[in-house]
């Protein structure tokens, strides 16, 4: 019943300094900033249209450099979670 992780082309990114700063970081690596994650301060939802929508492996490319950007405190590519209606 082992299940491989399925990676999406969405990222959760922590960028202090406000939404404009987050927009700049997103643009630098080819992402689109889809706004703040709920009410979590400094956490933003980034989307990358040139990364496969659902993949079993991490795709490396220039977008991967976001993890090394000094403005970025934390970044995580989002994995699919199986959720069922009750």
């Amino acid at each position: 019943h082992c299940r491989r992780d399925v990676l999406t082309n969405h990222w959760a990114v922590r960028v202090p300094g406000g939404p404009l700063q987050a927009d700049r970081v997103a643009q630098k690596y080819g992402y689109r900033n889809l706004g703040r994650i709920g009410s979590l301060e400094d956490y933003y939802h980034f989307h990358h249209s040139r990364v496969v929508r659902r993949a079993a492996f991490v795709f490396r490319g220039t977008h991967s450099f976001i993890h090394m950007d000094p403005q970025v405190q934390w970044a995580q590519q989002q994995k699919v979670k199986i959720r069922e209606k009750r």
């Binding site: 019943h1 959760a12 889809l34 709920g38 979590l40 090394m68 979670k81 199986i82």
Partner: protein, 795 residues
């Protein structure tokens, strides 16, 4: 049971089928125990309260939802816009949110379909299940307009297949915490959650981290006749239950459906969570200042076991009845609004976290492992002190070859045993639990101080190698609660006012009772006579009087438990608070102890925790002596948990400590020699060393005289052996850690003392290589294959 009320005789066509709200069918027994009509009668219908449904969207133009639809309580996380309308398809897969929304806030008296529990509440929908659900999607959904939305109702979760253990990710955890801290302008968002539907898969909802979170109100279901529905999965975090559908001949639950229709096909705990969301909306209308914890307290205090059938109903140390199937029982909307209207906010939540215990004990197949800790309830830290419990969380780190064979329970100082995990026959995972948090509400209201015992039982359900043992590596206890009595200034349930007029009738009876009584007195009355026929009417007593003088006094022949007879004064006097029976008031005059306490033979007092070398015997409620070699034991004299000097613990037995170079052989009950490479060991094999003998180095789990190829000799940490560490990946020999490779595997070249793959890239232009170099990618293991060789060759 309530007969049909003419004030609430709605023209909605399905109103007559809503048996769980009113009794219109004279021929069948009524099931109005959720008292929703009672709350409506008192004027509470959810006005100005905002509820949203986190699901696959809601049909906002449904005639039953449109009047109460609130676009500010809605969002489409899947489409990233403000319209939560579900995606329509041929198979109607996205019906769920619309069905849940109708339960909460379908408009009343509009001749269309049904009536929602809070039919005047605002209703919104957050569309988030119709796409890839990720941690981000969940966190975003739970944090939408927290100052505007009061209640978030979620009827989904990880798979209920009896083999999944899953919960909120880091962002969602933060979203919950933010919600309860800052939502509703600091009062805390209310997250209602449907407990699982994995009954047939023998699932246990403690394996769902959402429903077992302290921040969610976890809701279960019962059938019309109080039976366990086929889908119900038990667990200790369920707070309360509502009616749902779950038996073939039961009446159904009706609600709104896609395409502006109505349905009676809705079932599962998805029925129950929105019903409770609606009832909480009624309570919030009664008192908008309720905090998220007030709401949980209200549910605990007002939900009732009634006729709900379960084998495990028990009364905890705070006299609350609770079950693993239904929590504290069926919700009672009228009691909720009445209590809410006069509620005083409970004292601040204190969190008392205990140090992680590292028993590192093996769990033998067919046996039970016990591990205990004594809690002071953090009594020495004012801001953390917990006296009265709310939630209790146990975090467990254990390894096991078959997770589904484990059963975990926790016993509180008051003696309440809560099952944190039942066996799950379909769970064959060998992953164990990695700091998984189990939560129980079964200790609610009890005192925190005393001994807590974690019990892990391994019952192999299928053929497996029982020589591979589970290991409880770590566990910790976190107690949530208050330092003061949360109900100190509250009236009790019995104080809930009855129907208007009842009090006047009582007054009248008292006034009429002023006339002198001339009938016979009760046999317990003394020579001064009486002013009525009952024992409460005696003016003095033959044996003992019980209760406060001039108010609730009655005459009794024997004093009840907790009292002793003062023969001289003819009065029953209270024993010390720890005694069940006693000879006098003092603590040392107890003859038996109240539940959860044990008679200490050394001091003749009742104690929460027995002294060293003793254990608390539940049946006798006494501290009995442990076996000679045990310093501490649990439940039985030979179940040792700590040993006296010169002995060490092997399972639950204390065995003599063996000298260096020997180990204790359990079968032969003697010390035997370790392998020559070991200084200390757990067995005779060369892979069972704990420390290596002089001149040996530790490599993986063995002691060797020299490091093997691919390993280098590293410095030991204090008091440890010299170690052989593995060289970097793809390196055949090295001189030390990191970039210290001397020779690489075939297919790799040595560049700057690291091994990079023997391939060239044709797309590594100058700018690209600059970026690789400026970010020092080739020094990072993850990026070492990233055109490093080409870039280095290009200078």
């Amino acid at each position: 049971s309530i007969q049909n009320d003419p004030n609430f005789n709605f023209n909605d066509p399905k109103w007559s089928s809503m048996w769980y709200i009113h009794c219109s069918d004279q021929g069948s027994p009524c099931h109005s125990e959720m008292n929703i009509l009672g709350a409506w009668r008192r004027g509470y219908t959810g006005k100005n309260v905002v509820v949203t449904i986190l699901d696959d969207g809601i049909e906002r133009n449904h005639p039953d939802l449109a009047p109460n639809y609130d676009h500010l309580a809605s969002y489409d996380v899947n489409g990233n816009d403000y319209d939560p309308t579900p995606r329509y398809d041929f198979h109607n897969v996205n019906i769920h949110g619309t069905r849940c929304a109708g339960e909460v806030a379908a408009a009343a008296n509009n001749t269309h379909c049904i009536v929602g529990v809070a039919f005047n509440a605002h209703i919104g929908g957050i569309r988030m299940l119709d796409g890839d659900v990720t941690d981000l999607v969940e966190a975003k959904s739970l944090g939408i307009r927290p100052d505007y939305i009061d209640i978030y109702s979620s009827s989904w979760g990880p798979k209920d297949d009896g083999r999944t253990v899953d919960g909120p990710g880091p962002l969602t955890r933060q979203a919950f915490e933010q919600g309860i801290k800052k939502g509703r302008k600091g009062l805390g968002s209310i997250f209602v959650w449907a407990s699982g539907n994995g009954g047939r898969q023998l699932d246990h909802c403690s394996c769902d981290g959402y429903t077992s979170s302290i921040y969610t109100v976890s809701i279960s279901s019962t059938t019309e006749h109080g039976n366990r529905p086929w889908y119900l999965e038990p667990c200790s975090s369920i707070l309360a239950s509502t009616y749902s559908r779950g038996e073939l001949n039961d009446r159904k639950i009706v609600t709104t459906d896609l395409h502006q229709r109505c349905t009676d096909g809705h079932t599962g705990t998805s029925v129950s969570a929105p019903i409770v969301a609606g009832i909480i909306a009624l309570a919030l209308e009664a008192n908008l200042l309720l905090t998220w914890r007030d709401v949980q307290h209200l549910l605990v205090r007002t939900s009732r076991p009634l006729h709900l059938k379960a084998d495990d109903w028990k009364t905890n140390g705070a006299r609350l009845r609770v079950s693993h199937l239904y929590g504290f029982g069926l919700v009672d909307a009228e009691a909720m609004v009445l209590e809410a209207s006069k509620w005083r906010t409970v004292p601040p939540q204190h969190i008392c976290t205990h140090k992680r215990l590292r028993p590192n004990s093996y769990i033998h197949a067919g046996q039970t492992l016990n591990s205990s800790t004594v809690s002071s309830g953090c009594s020495d830290e004012a801001d953390r002190e917990v006296v009265f419990l709310e939630h209790v969380v146990v975090s467990v780190l254990l390894t096991h070859p078959r997770r589904g064979d484990l059963e975990i329970s926790l016993t509180s100082p008051s003696g309440t045993r809560s099952q944190l995990l039942a066996r799950r026959l379909y769970d064959s995972s060998n992953q164990g639990f990695r700091n998984w948090e189990f939560m129980s509400v079964h200790f609610w209201g009890e005192k925190a101080k005393g001994s807590w015992t974690l019990e892990i039982r391994d019952s192999p359900s299928k053929l497996r190698n029982t020589e591979v043992l589970g290991n409880l590596k770590e566990w910790s206890l976190t107690l949530y609660g208050t330092s003061e009595d949360p109900y100190l200034h509250h009236s009790t349930n019995q104080d809930v006012p009855g129907p208007e007029g009842a009090k006047d009738e009582l007054d009248l009876q008292e006034e009429e009772g002023e006339e002198e009584y001339i009938g016979p007195c009760h046999s317990e009355c003394g020579e001064q006579g009486c002013d009525g026929p009952e024992a409460e009417h005696c003016l003095n007593c033959v044996h003992f009087s019980l209760g406060r003088p001039n108010t609730e006094r009655t005459c009794v022949s024997h004093c009840p438990l907790g009292y002793f007879g003062d023969v001289a004064a003819h009065r029953c006097r209270r024993c010390h608070r720890d005694c069940e029976r006693c000879l006098g008031r003092s603590e040392a005059e107890c003859t038996s102890c109240r539940r959860g306490l044990y008679m200490n033979p050394l001091s003749s007092t009742c104690v929460h925790t027995c002294p060293d070398s003793h254990y608390g015997n539940q049946e006798q409620q006494r501290c009995l002596e442990c076996d000679d070699s045990c310093r501490r034991c649990s439940q039985d004299s030979d179940r040792c948990t700590a040993c006296k000097h010169g002995h060490s613990l092997a399972g639950m037995t204390c065995v003599p400590e063996c000298s260096n170079g020997t180990f204790f052989h359990l079968e032969e009950m003697s010390c035997r020699v370790c392998h020559s490479s070991c200084q200390t060991c757990t067995g005779p094999g060369k892979q069972e060393c704990i420390r290596c003998a002089e001149g040996f180095l530790q490599q993986e789990w063995r002691c060797v005289q020299a490091c093997a190829p691919g390993y280098y000799s590293g410095e030991p940490s204090t008091g440890r052996n010299r170690m052989c560490h593995r060289c970097e990946e793809n390196c055949v020999s090295c001189s030390g850690p990191g970039t210290a490779c001397l020779r690489c595997k075939d297919g790799f070249s040595l560049v700057s003392r690291t091994c990079v793959i023997n391939s060239s890239c044709n797309n590594a232009d100058e700018i690209f290589c600059e970026m690789v170099k400026s970010n020092r990618l080739c020094e990072k293991k993850l990026y070492r294959q990233f055109c490093c060789k080409t870039c280095l060759m290009n200078g």
